[in-house]
Symmetry: C2
Amino acid sequence: MQMKEKGDDNVVFIGRKGIMSYVLAVVTQFNNGESNVIIKARGRAISRAVDVAEIVRQRFVQGISTTDIKIDTEEIEGEEGPIKVSAIEITLSKP
Amino acid sequence: MQMKEKGDDNVVFIGRKGIMSYVLAVVTQFNNGESNVIIKARGRAISRAVDVAEIVRQRFVQGISTTDIKIDTEEIEGEEGPIKVSAIEITLSKP
């Protein structure tokens, strides 16, 4: 699967901050004129990525919808060598 | 969004058991002749649902693919009234 890189403008990568930080980041992207914003997360943050997408969709941006959801497995460097983690990529789009 | 109910034969609902219990449940459904198996989860179990789908797809069932992923918000009864939780539904299908 082709995944956009973290550095891309319209990508919000979910980490360990409070959930509303990420909601705000997504809303800001749309307000800056992006038509699509991609929410990415790995491991346990996947549940939070779904929360962020649902909160933005239902409460913050009119008429937005989930246009694509991909899941995949990524290999990251653990302390004792590479480990596999699940990843998700949720695309929200303006009509 | 139309979601299948927990009682349906080809639905595996992710709870608090070890992850391999759910992997086994999904594999068993395919071995029993199902062409599609739907993995459902809510809240923090969403990350585990993605893990289950990815483990089944990569390690246990040949040629299987993720054919549909939906996210939604559901209302469940909390101790102090209804609360909203995110939900995911991942469909795995045989070719």
